[in-house]
């Protein structure tokens, strides 16, 4: 069964917007990370995410066939047109932080652990996609995700099983972000159609392996695994938190003020 091109566009945007928004959030740490070495590491990870986002957005634009390139999709869509999960758009200081609060490294590591584990599991399976383009992107991205996962794991272990203060903040970060991880595994008719056609990876099947990665890390880090409960969602339908609007405002201002600007 040939998948509908519009479905493929939507799916590529979901994966690509996750990576793009995650990259933008991580880039906020540039020149502000706790250590110079960590600064380089976070910027590397941000650039990895951005690289994958560019490939996926470019592909989405090509399949759509309406003449939109990666820049048009990244810089000229409104928040309601973004398909990223809510997790990646949450501020670096945590979901409840006021706008402009400086980032919390523990929150960033908790978020990266959840995201990288999910992305790695996705890309590991997407390499077998019947869509050759998505398979090729996944083949490149899975090695990068493996490293992001490792980086986040190392820090969650050290901060969780570190000092009293680092433990307290790491636990708070995991507790605050846990509800938003449920959306990663939410499925709908679109991914149902695409996974049946062998194009997409059904996220619902990833929750069990994801827990197998994340739960042992939390345990070794002496962190409590939060209970499942509230599960905010909406990102895949374009219903976002207010945080995405601020993020896009900053990310898009230059391109909107000076269309086609280059440097």
């Amino acid at each position: 069964m040939t998948p509908s091109p519009l479905d493929v566009v939507e799916y590529a945007l979901r994966l690509g917007d996750d990576a793009l928004v995650a990259a933008q959030r991580l880039a906020d740490w540039s020149a502000r990370a706790p250590e110079m070495e960590e600064d380089v590491a976070l910027s590397n990870i941000a650039l990895d995410q951005l690289g994958v986002a560019r490939l996926l957005l470019t592909y989405a634009g090509e399949v759509e066939g309406a003449g939109r390139d990666e820049d048009a999709l990244a810089y000229l869509r409104s928040d309601a047109e973004f398909r990223n999960c809510l997790l990646v758009e949450l501020p670096n200081a945590g979901p409840a932080a006021a706008v402009g609060t400086p980032g919390d490294f523990g929150v960033t590591m908790a978020k990266l652990l959840a995201l990288a584990a999910y992305q790695w599991l996705t890309y590991e399976r997407l390499v077998a996609s019947t869509d050759g383009h998505l398979a090729a992107v996944a083949a490149k991205a899975r090695k990068e995700s493996r490293y992001h996962l490792d980086h986040a794991t190392q820090w969650v272990l050290r901060l969780g099983d570190g000092t009293e203060e680092s433990h307290r903040r790491m636990q708070a970060a995991v507790d605050d972000l846990w509800p938003y991880t449920h959306e990663l595994f939410a499925t709908d008719e679109l991914v149902g159609r695409l996974s049946e056609a062998g194009v997409a990876v059904d996220p619902a099947a990833l929750r069990a392996p994801w827990l197998e990665i994340v739960e042992p890390v939390l345990a070794v880090a002496t962190l409590d695994r939060p209970t499942d409960g509230w599960a905010p969602e909406g990102g895949r339908r374009g219903v976002h938190t207010e945080h995405l609007s601020y993020l896009l405002g900053e990310m898009q201002v230059l391109h909107r003020a000076h269309p086609g600007a280059r440097w």
Binding site: P34, E35, M36, E37, V40, A41, N44, W155, R158
Partner: protein
């Protein structure tokens, strides 16, 4: 910007068959993180296939003050170089 984390010296092997070469140093809370930091700081452009990190405190180095005592006596001992010796005419297998 350092918060007092220990210093590690980084050695990178550029490719198989070559020796690890000192490339620089960095701060990290422990050796495992140091290895990852080294990967990010020193091998971003495919500079290596293997990395060693060594706590800088574990290195015993010769002192610049001892430079003369350590190295100068070698200067006039030309017989330590193979080129000092002439190979006799007709000698084989050396």
């Amino acid at each position: 910007m350092s918060t007092g984390e220990p210093l590690f010296e980084v050695f990178v092997r550029p490719r198989r068959g070559l020796a690890h070469t000192h490339v620089g140093s960095l701060h990290a809370p422990d050796a495992v993180i140091a290895l990852r930091n080294a990967r990010d700081v020193y091998t971003r452009r495919q500079e290596g296939v293997s990395i060693w990190v060594v706590p800088a405190a574990a290195i015993t180095a010769s002192s610049p003050d001892e430079k003369d005592a350590f190295f100068d006596p070698a200067a006039d001992k030309v017989y330590r170089h193979p080129t000092f010796y002439e190979v006799p005419e007709g000698a084989q297998h050396i």
